[in-house]
Symmetry: D3
Subunit: 136 residues, 6 copies
C-alpha cells in the first residue's frame, strides 16, 4: 500500500493565518515555543513519531484536505483542544471551506456526543468564524 505521496499545496502560511486571527496567532506562537523545547530535547523516538505524523497527512489516495478534516473529527471526538486548533488551521490553509468544516464537526458531534466534543465543536466553530476575515 505504498502509493506515491507528496506535500500538499497550502494556500496560506502559518503567519498569514496568524495575521487574520488573534486566537490562531496565540496558538501558533505557543506551539512554536513548545516545539523548540521538544526539538532541544532531541528525543529520537519523538522525532520518529513526528515523522510518521507528518507523512500521514500528505496527499495520497485520499486528498490531504480530507485527512486534515479526519484529524479534526477524531481530535474533537477525543476532546483534544490543541489538536482541534491545529487541524482547523491546517484545513483552512488547504482551502477547506467553513461548510466543509461544519459537516465534519457534525460527524464528531453524533459520534462523540455533547460532552466530549461539543465544547470543542462550539469552540472550534467559533474559531473557524474568527479565523476567517470578514471578506471570506
Amino acid at each position: 500500500m505504498n502509493t506515491e505521496r507528496k506535500e500538499p499545496t497550502y494556500l496560506y502560511t502559518d503567519d498569514q493565518v496568524a495575521e487574520r486571527s488573534a486566537i490562531a496567532r496565540q496558538f501558533i506562537e505557543t506551539r512554536r515555543k513548545l516545539n523548540t523545547i521538544v526539538d532541544a530535547a532531541d528525543n529520537y523516538l519523538v522525532k520518529r513519531f513526528y515523522n510518521i505524523d507528518h507523512n500521514t497527512y500528505l496527499e495520497g489516495v485520499i486528498p490531504a484536505k480530507y485527512k486534515e478534516l479526519m484529524g479534526l473529527v477524531v481530535s474533537a471526538g477525543l476532546r483534544c483542544d490543541d489538536c482541534i486548533y491545529y487541524h482547523v488551521i491546517q484545513s483552512y490553509r488547504l482551502g477547506v471551506t467553513r461548510q466543509e468544516q461544519e459537516e465534519s464537526l457534525n460527524v464528531a458531534l453524533v459520534v462523540g456526543g455533547r460532552s466530549r466534543p461539543i465544547g470543542c465543536v462550539v469552540t472550534a466553530v467559533g474559531r473557524v468564524v474568527r479565523v476567517r476575515p470578514a471578506s471570506l
Copy 2:
C-alpha cells in the same frame, strides 16, 4: 449552512456484504436484532438521534464516502469496535478502496495511539481484508 443533501449511492446492499464475509454477516445480524429491540422501545429521543445520525452521512459538500471514513477514524480513536465494523462496512458499500481505508486508519493511529485504536486498527484492517473477496 443548509446545502442540499441526498442519499448516497451504495454499490452493495448489507446482504451482499454479509455474503462476502462471515464477520460482516455476524455483525449485521446482531445489529438487526438489537435495532429491532430499540425500535420496539419506541423512544422518541433515540429515534430523533438516529435521524440526525442518518442525515450526517448524506452526500453534502463533503462526499458521503469521506464522511464514512471520518466516522471510521473517530470510532477507532474512541475504540468503539461496533462503530468500526459499521463504518468499514458502510464505506465498503460506497466503493471505498482498501488503500483509502488504510490511509484513514493511519490518521486514527497517530492521533489515537496504539492503546486506543490499534487493537481496532489491527482488527479493522483484518476485517477489511476479509470483507473483500479475493478478486478485489
Copy 3:
C-alpha cells in the same frame, strides 16, 4: 457532609435476576468467578476501593436507585460494558422501571454520543428488555 447512610432495600436477589435472564446470569456468574480471584489476591487497596464503591451507592440524600442510574449513565458514557450490565441489574433489583432506565440512557446518549455509549445503549436497552420477564 456525613449524612446517615443505610443499605438500600433490594426487591430481587442476584439469583432471582439470573433466573429471569440468560444474559444477566452469564454476567453474574463471570463476575463471581473474577471476584473470587480478586478476593484471593487479598490486596488491601483494592479492598478499600471496593469499600468506597459500596458506600457510594447507599441510600443517602439521593435515593439509591438514582445513584445506580447515575452509575449506569457514566458507565455508558465511558463505554464500560461490564459496568453497564452491573448497574442495569442493580437498578432493576431496586425496582427501577424500564422507562426510568431509558430516560437515563438518553442522558448518556446526548452527552457521550453514538460512538461511545450507543453500542452500550443499544445493548443495554436490549438487556433491559431481556432481563425483564414479559409480565413486567
Copy 4:
C-alpha cells in the same frame, strides 16, 4: 415510552446565578458568546441535536434535577469541564443542595477515577461552594 414531559421549574435564572458567583458569570457569558456564533452558523443538524439535548433534561419519569445530576456525573467521568460547569449551574437552578451534588460527584469519582474526573471534582466542588452565597 413517550411519557408526558414538561419544562422544569427553575428557582433561579442564569443571571441570578451569575450575580452570586464570578466563576459562574464568566462561564455563562462565554457560553452566550459561543452560542451566538453557533446560532449564526444556522446548522440544522446542530440545532436538532440541541433540541434533543433540551428534551432529555425535561421533567419525566425521572425528576429533572436527577437528570441534571446524571449529566454532571457523566460530564465529570468524561472530564468535560464546560459540561461540569453547565450541570452544576443547572442543578443549582433547580434547587439541588450541595450534599446532593457531592453524593453525585462521589459516583463520578469511583467510576471515573482520580485522573479523569478528580480535577473536575475538585474544581466542581469548589465551584459549588463558590456559586452558593454564604447564607445558603
Copy 5:
C-alpha cells in the same frame, strides 16, 4: 537523550507462556493471525509505528520491566483489553512478580477509576493468576 538501548532479556518465550495459560494462548494465537494480516498489508506508516513501539520498551535508563508495567497501567486506564493482555504477558516474560503487577494495577485503579480500568483490573488480576502456574 539518546542513551544506549538494548533488547531486554526475556525469561520465557511466547510459546512457553501459551503453554501455561489457556487465556494467554488464545490471545497470542489471535494476535499472530492479525499481525499476519497487518504484515500482508505492508503499510509503511504502520510498520514505522510498530518500530517506534518496539524501541519504546527496550532497556534504557528505565529498566524494560518497568516500562512494560507502565504500558500495563496506561492500557488499563484507557481500557484497552488487548493491550492489557499484551503487557501482562510481556511483563511476565521479563520476570515481573504478581505483587509488582498488582501494585501497578493499583495505580491504574486510583487514576482511572472503577468504570474504566476496573473491569480490566479484575480481568487482568485474574489473568495474572491464571497465567502463572501454581508453583510460582
Copy 6:
C-alpha cells in the same frame, strides 16, 4: 499481597520546586486552594479515596519513583493535565531524571497517541525543562 510500605524520601519539598519554576508554583498554589475547599467539604468518601491514593504511591515492591512515573504515563494517556503536572513534580521531588521522564512519556506517546497525550507530552516535556534549573 500486603508488603510493607513506607513513605518515600523526597529530595525537595513542594516549596523548593515552586521556587525553581513559575509554572510549578502556579500549579502548587492553585492545588492548595482547591484542596482547602475540598477539606472544608469534609466528605468522608473523598477522604478515603485520597487515603487510597496516598497509599498507592508509597515505597513497595515497586520503588515509589516508578509508581509516580506510572501515574505520569496514565495521566498523559488520559489527558489529565493537572495530573501530569502533579506527577512531573512528584517524580522530580523523588530525584527522577529528565531522561527517565522522557522514556516514560514515550510509553504514553505510543500507547495514547498524538491526540490524547501529545499536547500533554509536549507541555510536560517543556515543564520538565522549565522545572529544572539550568544547572541540572
